[in-house]
């Protein structure tokens, strides 16, 4: 019992310790998480930028720059921690088109694909009005007053942006790299977004970023340095109404002198464009370069262009300013390949921005024929394996049952995105169909060159009954079984311990009552025998001794009968102490004038046997004392069943006695010992001439009740099982 108590205390101490340690750890993490991951720096140099998460766009790492090859509105690339609060973000950026804008996102949360689908702030350089722009996005856009950028915002020009966020203020410094063209602004919003990630963002333009760094040292000084250049802070105010906006903003004039917005006119060419499909039927040898016109479908690892007749690969060409969806005119030397033609030494002329064409949906078997070489297609297959190659190349091995093929993504920002695709999932992939051995390694008939992770859709997840899942399930079931067995053994131990404890108590009880009674009877009989041996029989004395012995036997018999009745399920006394007290009182008071009343308050509840038995003996002793010694006419026994306790009152209106005086009897001490054995409180309220009240309060601990209920439950289930077994004939007695 001591050991159990000690281990219980140790468990509580360990629990408190663990909770305290967890609280400390949580507080520590809470304190440091605004700084975790800082300083952050990504020079985009090693081609392994796994820290970024794209939301739209076609992102590509090359030559130390991160480029978005799409003119999608609001393409985002995010990094960092949502717990970052005050920090400085710096980056160089370049806009590759005459329109659109590009910049940095700060304190970003709840991002999704969409133009303003994030909750945070954006700072950018906008070419349409040559301004430094700042505003608040929350699935909508609320802009501060734009600041004119000296020298304008021009394409193919590098700018440096420094964004300082502190409290609810954002300071921005922008400068054209290598010049003195600079602009500053400070933006303030009450009830601002307090923390969030950083990001790169572009709107309607192809753009590049480099040298991205984030740090939290010296933020106040950096903000103060920017504030020195700013006379008035701006707030999120536009566009609320048209009149207010247009009274303070300007838009491009589109005048012819503004070369920036003059569209490139189509000039007559020496070699007019021809359909791309006709490149496969050119007479050999080719004596002059050929021209084609089409839409860019891929820029990395190679440029692909497609018109309504098909696609073509273009090699040895600078693609940095090209974006997916651009309409271009290409003039180059055709190089015939087994299934298609490659244009080499090509000259690319950007014509228009267009919507990328939708993919042609084909089967893997059709793709393997080579008819769709260099076309933008869509097909599906089961994922077999994913390889993470050097240079941020990810290869997905797929199989549709008839053909095995590969899907290849080159130069994307994050390999982590592909870990969500499980083997044996049915995937739909969109990309350029190629039969080039550089990509197929001659192991599969064709490969698809994907633009980004967005080109993969999971149609059906992996089957549930994979070998790994089966092993996992088996382990879980085994663990569950072990836990159940452990619990079962523990409950059995508790039950056995309870039985042994009860047996020990009964042994002591028998020793205290039956054995002592028999010893008393034996003593009386021995006295009779000695008296008869030592001389003539003294019949009056012998009669007296025999009467005492008979009385002892009768009392012992009755006590034993009641005790057994108390413990015997099915007897009226079992579980209902009031019946036991009534029977006990009527026996004791038999033949006398004392009237005993037994009452109860509250519903009868199942009590532990030990409690029932002990209470009964205390009550019986108290009733006996009252009838025999109190000189009372009435004895009142009252049981109260409370929620957390059982209270027994035995009250007489007799002579009483001095509490704690000489009259403190052996019976009273015995009652106190019994009460202590079940952690009950026993109070004696008495005074000479004022009667006596014995009060016993038994607290009911939940653990005791639980243990008892478990024990009862076990008994019930055992009985059920036993009966079932009997019915089925399994039990052989």
């Amino acid at each position: 019992m001591k050991l159990f108590k000690h281990s219980w205390n140790a468990a509580i101490a360990a629990l408190i310790g663990a909770v305290s340690a967890a609280a400390l750890l949580f507080s520590f993490i809470h304190y440091i998480r605004p700084f975790l991951g800082l300083p952050f720096r990504d020079p985009f140099a090693d081609g392994k930028s796994n820290l970024w998460q794209p939301m739209g766009g076609a992102w590509d790492l090359a030559n130390g720059t991160m480029q978005n090859h799409s003119d999608e509105w609001g393409a985002k690339l995010l990094a960092g921690s949502k717990y970052w609060t005050d920090y400085v973000v710096e980056a160089d950026l370049e806009i590759l088109r005459d329109y659109g804008d590009a910049g940095l996102i700060v304190r970003s949360n709840q991002e999704d694909r969409g133009v303003d689908a994030y909750n945070g702030y954006y700072v950018g350089l906008r070419s349409i009005d040559d301004s430094l722009v700042i505003g608040r996005a929350d699935y909508g856009w609320m802009e501060g007053r734009p600041v004119p950028m000296p020298g304008g915002v021009r394409r193919l020009t590098w700018y440096h942006l420094k964004v300082v966020v502190q409290g609810c203020e954002i300071g921005v410094a922008a400068n054209e790299v290598g010049t003195q063209n600079r602009a500053w602004t400070v933006f303030q919003e009450s009830g601002c977004v307090a923390s969030g990630r950083i990001g790169l963002r572009s709107v309607a333009t192809v753009a590049s970023w480099r040298n991205v760094k984030v740090y939290s040292v010296g933020v106040p000084a950096e903000l103060a340095a920017i504030r020195r250049h700013v006379t008035e802070e701006t707030h999120p105010e536009f566009p609320k109404g048209e009149a207010a906006y247009n009274s303070s903003h300007t838009f491009p004039t589109y005048d012819p002198k503004d070369a920036k917005f003059t569209p490139e006119k189509t000039a007559a060419k020496a070699h007019p464009p021809q359909p791309i499909s006709s490149l496969n039927n050119l007479p050999e040898p080719v004596s002059h370069p050929v021209s084609v016109r089409g839409v860019v479908t891929l820029t990395s690892p190679q440029l692909y262009v497609q018109d309504v007749t098909g696609g073509v690969a273009v090699a040895e060409v600078n693609v940095s300013a090209l974006g997916i969806g651009d309409e271009v005119e290409i003039t180059g030397w055709p190089d015939a390949q087994p299934f298609s033609t490659i244009l080499r030494k090509a000259d690319v002329r950007l014509l228009l921005g267009r919507t990328p064409p939708p993919p042609v949906s084909i089967t893997a078997a059709q793709a393997a024929t080579g008819v769709f070489e260099a076309d933008f297609v869509e097909t599906q297959g089961y994922l077999q394996h994913i390889h993470y190659e050097s240079g941020n190349t990810i290869i997905l091995d797929l199989d549709d049952g008839s053909q095995s093929f590969r899907a290849i993504v080159t130069g994307g920002p994050s390999a982590a995105l592909y870990r969500k695709f499980s083997e044996q999932s049915l995937l739909r992939v969109r990309g350029i169909c190629v039969l080039d051995p550089r990509f197929t390694q001659n192991e599969v008939p064709f490969a698809l060159l994907l633009r980004a992770a967005d080109d993969i859709d999971v149609l059906v997840g992996p089957p549930w009954w994979s070998a790994r899942r089966f092993i996992e399930l088996t382990c879980v079931l085994l663990l569950l079984l072990l836990m159940i067995l452990f619990l079962y053994v523990r409950i059995e131990n508790w039950r056995m311990k309870g039985i042994l404890d009860e047996r020990e108590r009964l042994a002591l009880e028998m020793h205290d009552t039956l054995a002592q009674s028999f010893a008393g009877v034996g003593y009386q009989l021995q006295g009779i025998r000695n008296g008869m041996r030592n001389g003539p029989a003294n019949w009056p004395t012998i009669n007296e001794q025999l009467d005492r012995a008979c009385e002892m036997v009768r009392q012992t018999h009755e006590e034993s009968s009641l005790s057994i009745a108390m413990l015997k399920p099915g007897s009226p006394e079992f579980g209902d102490l009031t019946i036991a007290f009534e029977r006990c009182a009527s026996r004791i008071a038999e033949g006398g004038d004392v009237r005993v009343t037994v009452t109860r308050e509250g519903p009868i509840r199942a009590l532990p046997l030990r409690v029932t038995d002990t209470l009964f003996h205390i009550g019986a002793e108290a009733i006996t004392n009252a009838i025999r010694h109190a000189q009372t006419e009435t004895v009142e026994v009252h049981m109260t069943y409370e929620t957390n306790a059982i209270v027994l009152h035995v009250q007489d209106h007799g002579i009483g006695f001095t509490a704690g005086g000489q009259l403190r009897s052996h019976g009273l001490r015995d009652m106190e010992h019994r009460a202590a054995s079940i952690s009950a409180d026993l109070h004696v309220h008495t005074a000479p001439g004022e009667g006596t009240c014995i009060e016993v309060v038994v607290p009911l601990h939940s653990r005791k009740v639980l243990t008892e209920l478990v024990s009862h439950g076990e008994r019930y289930i055992t009985r059920l099982a036993f009966k079932a077994g009997q019915k089925l004939g399994f039990h052989r007695r």
Binding site: G74, V115, P239, F251, T262, T355, G725
Partner: protein, 329 residues
């Protein structure tokens, strides 16, 4: 042994049942009954930001949470389909949709209605009849076409050549505008001729090239009617680059901040404005009624307004142009 087995079996059954219930509960998607998904034709465009403002204004003081998101381009139908699918999967409490295509969204809208999601179609019509869970709040596109024809008749004094730019196949609104424009011209202004109808593609560059070719081919063109904002920008840019913005009237459809800026400068003759603010406002009120179990059956047509330099600052016009999606009262 048998007793032990029965005991174990009984406990295992209870444990399995509990674990199964837990798994089932965790596997179910979480519903968003207080979120209304508002999916415009495209975001970051003043025409639709005004709808955003109208929805936000109607939602003030309610417990609705607005999820506003849409494609970045009008022709990105696939993205709009994704967003509607997500709204249905999340069992949003309401859907306000401005479809990018007359047919591609039909199945999803039927699915949303079948799931009991109150749905309001704003802007373009779909071929699904209104029902207690589906309502339409549309711009009166035929009236837009008629207003454009009347303006052409007025400015050209009933005589001249016009080009019609931006009619997009698959977009019911531009088809209705074109038809009504043609009909009104033949009915009231027979001396005004449509010399060219250039289809739109949603791409500025393509529209610009087409508008330039029209200006080169028709040196005596009197007016251009541009049927949406992309066509208007392309036409305006072409007129400026050919320095013909003083002689060719540009009558535009649908509002944008830059176009209203040019209108104020007198470089655009007029803009026929859709009341998307009111559409958003009414749509949100209908969703609210739908959530209370009321029928939202209906087909409301809101009249467009002809905006010129003379009336652009009128309070009712400015209210139509409000883009305040963070209203405070």
């Amino acid at each position: 042994m048998l007793i032990t087995a029965v005991r174990l079996g009984k406990r295992l059954a209870i444990c399995s049942l509990s674990a199964g219930t837990l798994l089932l509960a965790s596997g179910c998607a979480r519903a968003h009954p207080h979120t209304v998904a508002v999916i415009p034709e495209m975001t970051a465009q003043e025409l639709w930001e005004a709808e955003h403002a109208g929805v936000a204004s109607a939602a003030l003081g309610t417990n609705w949470e607005i999820y506003w998101n849409g494609p970045g381009r009008k022709d990105d139908v696939a993205r709009q389909i994704e967003l509607v699918e997500a709204a249905i999967a999340q069992r949003d409490g309401g859907l306000i949709l401005s479809p990018d295509h007359a047919l591609a969204l039909n199945t999803l809208v039927r699915r949303a209605v079948a799931q009991g999601i109150p749905t309001v179609i704003v802007g373009s019509h779909l071929s699904i009849s209104p029902n207690p869970k589906l309502a339409y709040i549309l711009n009166d596109d035929e009236e837009t076409g008629r207003l454009a024809a009347d303006r052409a008749g007025e400015t050209l004094h009933g005589m001249g050549d016009v080009a019609l730019i931006g009619s997009e196949p698959g977009i019911a609104s531009t088809f209705l505008r074109t038809t009504a424009f043609r009909h009104r011209l033949s009915e009231r202004y027979p001396s005004i001729h449509i010399v060219n109808e250039l289809p739109g593609s949603g791409a500025f560059d393509e529209g610009l090239l087409g508008a330039q070719q029209i200006l080169e081919r028709y040196p005596k063109l009197d007016a251009i009617v541009a049927l949406d904002t992309v066509a208007t920008r392309a036409s305006f840019s072409a007129l400026k680059s050919h320095q013909r913005n003083n002689e060719v009237k540009l009558i535009a459809c649908d509002q944008a901040l830059d176009l209203l800026y040019y209108l104020r400068k007198g470089e655009i003759d007029s803009i026929i404005v859709e009341n998307t603010f009111e559409m958003g406002y009414r749509a949100m009120k209908l969703i609210n009624a739908g959530q209370r179990g009321e029928s939202i059956l209906g087909n409301q047509l809101l009249p467009p307004t002809m905006v010129t330099r003379e009336n652009v600052d009128r309070p009712d016009v400015q209210r139509m142009l409000s883009m305040d999606w963070r209203p405070t009262q």
